[in-house]
Subunit: 195 residues, 2 copies
């Protein structure tokens, strides 16, 4: 999704566009965000934007990646349960940031109508994080902290899925307690303890 | 979200509107769906639609509820693992229906921008199903098939969250094998088996 920008002046214009899109999205909401509005705020022409990005969603995705500054390196203190709780709580805190979540959920919403955004969101962001999580899970499996027969991708779906479900679909509060409860329940499992 | 309709003629007009919206959404996609288009296809005036529904998303939600005919009664054969797999696989099959999923994911997308649709989707649909799942989980807990200290709502988030995560966010295939794998992993848990 990243645009090609040949020189420093273009670099600055691109930065202004992304920043304008993030600010405007916060101010007027995703629905009322327009390429015209972004262009006016950034002081560039509409065509400049269209030369680099196919849609307002694509601009926002670049903005989100910049803001989030995702460091997909997982903590590895040797204690997987503690590390996954740390990472998920950090991700959840960033997600809860009013400068991030409205933009991010708008992009997830957009991805449900637009296969290109869906792919870009996965490739540049969600799948990137999920891949880092799966790598950390493989280490935990080698160290005997996660059962060896579990599919690492499925483990990420189970853990992150519960967090996304609550945030995107329910009216419930998403907080660190919820993250900890997800990880604890996923670890003990639903089966009753053996007699 | 359901409109008040005083007489049989209105009842038929409302039915025509909902059917037109579902057909058009399938044909042109959610983005190009318009109240004008729905009105033309249904043979009613735009104002008739706006009298009953606040938005195209609200019309679609009624259509989805009609199509889905959600019977939120969970199977109860006495085997919770088998029953939850049956229910989740059935829900997943309906979700995978090309006449349902594009509409449903469009509504989920819309819910990310529109708090009213978010609430309506939860109250009339997702929360309704989640509540039925939680009730079945409580029975399983009383029967000793699910650990008694697990929060039933959290259990539903863990199980359904993984299914939604895959369908909404990843490019991976969602099928019955995936449903079975989610339930099995959630039951055994991530912790390695005791020595």
């Amino acid at each position: 999704m990243s645009p090609r920008r040949p020189d420093r002046r273009s670099e600055e214009a691109a930065k202004a566009v992304v920043q304008a899109a993030m600010e405007l999205c916060r101010e007027v909401g995703y629905r009322k965000l327009s390429i015209e509005g972004i262009a006016a705020r950034a002081g560039v022409g509409k065509n400049t934007i269209y030369r680099w990005w196919p849609s307002k969603a694509a601009v926002l995705l670049d903005g989100l990646l910049t803001t989030w500054r995702t460091d997909a390196t997982f903590p590895d203190t040797g204690d997987f349960v503690a590390d996954i709780k740390t990472q998920m709580a950090a991700a959840s805190r960033i997600l809860g940031d009013p400068d991030v979540f409205p933009h991010y959920r708008a992009l997830i919403g957009e991805a449900q109508h637009d296969p290109e955004i869906h792919r870009a969101l996965w490739d540049s962001f969600i799948g990137h994080l999920a891949g880092a999580a799966a790598d950390r899970i493989r280490i935990a499996q080698r160290e005997g902290q996660v059962r060896a027969d579990a599919d690492p991708d499925l483990v990420t779906e189970l853990l992150y899925g519960a967090a996304y479900y609550r945030r995107l679909l329910t009216p419930r509060t998403a907080d660190t307690d919820h993250i900890n409860a997800i990880v604890d329940l996923a670890f003990t499992g639903l089966a009753p303890p053996a007699e």
